[in-house]
C-alpha cells in the first residue's frame, strides 16, 4: 500500500494520527480509530479520565508505543520509518516529577542528551545555564544539586529544562503538573504559558484536569474509553453539546456556582 499516493498532510502538520488503533498483545483494544492533526506551534491537550488512552496516544508520537492499526506521522513521515532514537532526540519528553535521574546533578540531568550527542563542552555549559534561567532557577544555586534536594516544583522545572536541552521542536508532556500542590501547579502553568509564547514549540499535553486543558490548550482533544470524542478550541469546548464534553464543562460550572455562593 506504500505506493498508494497518501493523502498529503496539511502543509504545517507536525504530528498526524491517521486512523490509529492500539491493541494489547491479548487483543484488547486500548485505542480505536484516532485521527487528528497537530499544527506547528499549536498546544494540543489530550483530555480524558484515567484509562482513556491519552498516555498511550502520547507515547505513539515518540515511539514508546507503536500503533497496531493506522499510522502516526511526524513531520510528514511515518513513525515506523523513523529511527526511534533519532526521533526521540528531536522530541522533548516530560513526565511527572519522578523522571529525573536521582544519581545525577541538575547539571548532568539537563546536559545528558547534548552530551551523548557530543556537543562541545562550552556549548553544553552555556546551554544548561540558559535553560535553568529560562525555567526560573538560578544556575549558580541549582547546578550542583541532586533531584532529592529539590522541591516538587523545582524538579518539574528541571524536567522542562532537560526536555528542552537539545532544542526539540516538539514537546510531549504527560501529566506534567500532576504531582504538585495546587498553588505550585498554578504557578508553573502560568510560567509554562509565558514560556510557550516565547518558544512557540508544538506541544502535546496529557491531563485529566479541565481547567488546565482550557488554560494551556489552543486545542482540546477529548478522549473517552479509547475513542476520540472530538477536538475543540477552548471556547468551542465550553459550549459543546457533546455529552462527555458537556460533563466536563458542567463540573467547571459547578465550581463557579459555588464561588458565586449559589
Amino acid at each position: 500500500m506504500s505506493d498508494w499516493p497518501a493523502a498529503q498532510p496539511a502543509a504545517d502538520s507536525v504530528i498526524e494520527f491517521r486512523n490509529v488503533g492500539y491493541r494489547l498483545p491479548g487483543g484488547e483494544p486500548l485505542l480505536n480509530d484516532i485521527s487528528l492533526t497537530v499544527r506547528a506551534g499549536e498546544t494540543l491537550v489530550l483530555l480524558g479520565r484515567s484509562g482513556a488512552g491519552k498516555t498511550t496516544a502520547l507515547k505513539m508520537i515518540n515511539r514508546l508505543a507503536d500503533p497496531t492499526d493506522g499510522e502516526v506521522l511526524i513531520e510528514g513521515r511515518k513513525t515506523l520509518d523513523w529511527d526511534p532514537i533519532t526521533l526521540r532526540r528531536r522530541i522533548g519528553y516530560i513526565i511527572q516529577e519522578t523522571g529525573l535521574f536521582p544519581h545525577y546533578t541538575v547539571e548532568k540531568n539537563i546536559s545528558l542528551v547534548p552530551r551523548v550527542e557530543h556537543w562541545p563542552e562550552m556549548q553544553i555549559r552555556t546551554r544548561v545555564h540558559d535553560l535553568l534561567a529560562l525555567v526560573g532557577l538560578e544556575p549558580a544555586v541549582f547546578l550542583r544539586r541532586y533531584p532529592h534536594e529539590l522541591s516538587g516544583g523545582q524538579r518539574q522545572r528541571v524536567g522542562v529544562a532537560r526536555a528542552l536541552a537539545a532544542n526539540p521542536s516538539i514537546l510531549l508532556m504527560d501529566e506534567p503538573f500532576g504531582a504538585l500542590d495546587p498553588l505550585t501547579r498554578a504557578e508553573l502553568r502560568e510560567q509554562f504559558q509565558v514560556l510557550q509564547q516565547q518558544l512557540g514549540k508544538t506541544v502535546v499535553i496529557v491531563t485529566h484536569d479541565t481547567g488546565e486543558a482550557l488554560l494551556l490548550g489552543t486545542r482540546i482533544a477529548l478522549m473517552e474509553a479509547g475513542q476520540l470524542k472530538g477536538s475543540y478550541s477552548p471556547r468551542e469546548f465550553l459550549h459543546s453539546k457533546e455529552p462527555v464534553a458537556a460533563a466536563y464543562s458542567a463540573q467547571l460550572n459547578a465550581l463557579e456556582k459555588f464561588e458565586r455562593g449559589e
Binding site: G99, F101, P102, V116, Y146, H148
Partner: protein, 209 residues
Amino acid sequence: MAQFFAQHQSEIFQAILEHVWLVGATMVLAVAIGVPLGIVVARKPWLSKPILGGANIAETIPSLALFGFLLPVPWLGARADRLTITALTLYALLPIIRNTAAGITSVDPAVREAARGMGLTARQILFQVELPLSVSTILAGIRVATVLTIGIATIAAAVGAGGLGEFIFRGLAMVNNQLILAGAIPAALLALGADFVLGLMERFLRPAR
C-alpha cells in the same frame, strides 16, 4: 599462642598471601561473569530461570565434592590453583548474579521510561542509568560472595592449593588446636576486613535519593 604466631610468622604470612590470591582471582572472575549474567537475567526473563537455577545448583554442591568432581577435568585438574579458583567462582556467582538482577529491576520504571523517551540507546540506559543506580546493590552481592569465598577457600588446601586451609588441615591431622587456629583466625580476620571495606564502599557509592 602469641608465641606460636611469632614463630611461624613467615609461614602464616605466606599462607595469607596465597589465600588472598585465590580469593582475589576468584572475585575478579566471578564479577566478570556474574554481573553480565545478572544483566541478562534482568533483561531476558526467559533466561532467568536457567541461569539462576544453574547458579543455585552450583551453590548446593558440597565444596569438597566439587573439588573432587573438577579434578579429572583436563586443563583444570592440572593445577591446584586453577581447580580451586574455578570451584570458588562457581560458588561466588549466585549472590552476584542475584543482586545485579535485583538492582537493575528495582530501578524506578519512571526513570527508565524517561531515559527511553529522551532517546538514550539501550546501552546508554544500561551504563548511564541502570548500572549506576544499582551499584550499591551489586556491591552488596560482591560483599556476600567475598566473605563466603574466604571461608570456602580454606578447603582448597585439600587439593593442595595452599592458603590458610593448609594450617587447618595439618592441625586436624595432628590434633593440634594451635595449628587449626593459625589458619582459622587469619581467615576470620580477612573475612571481617573484606566485609568492612566492601561495606564502606557500598555505603559510599549508594546513589542519593
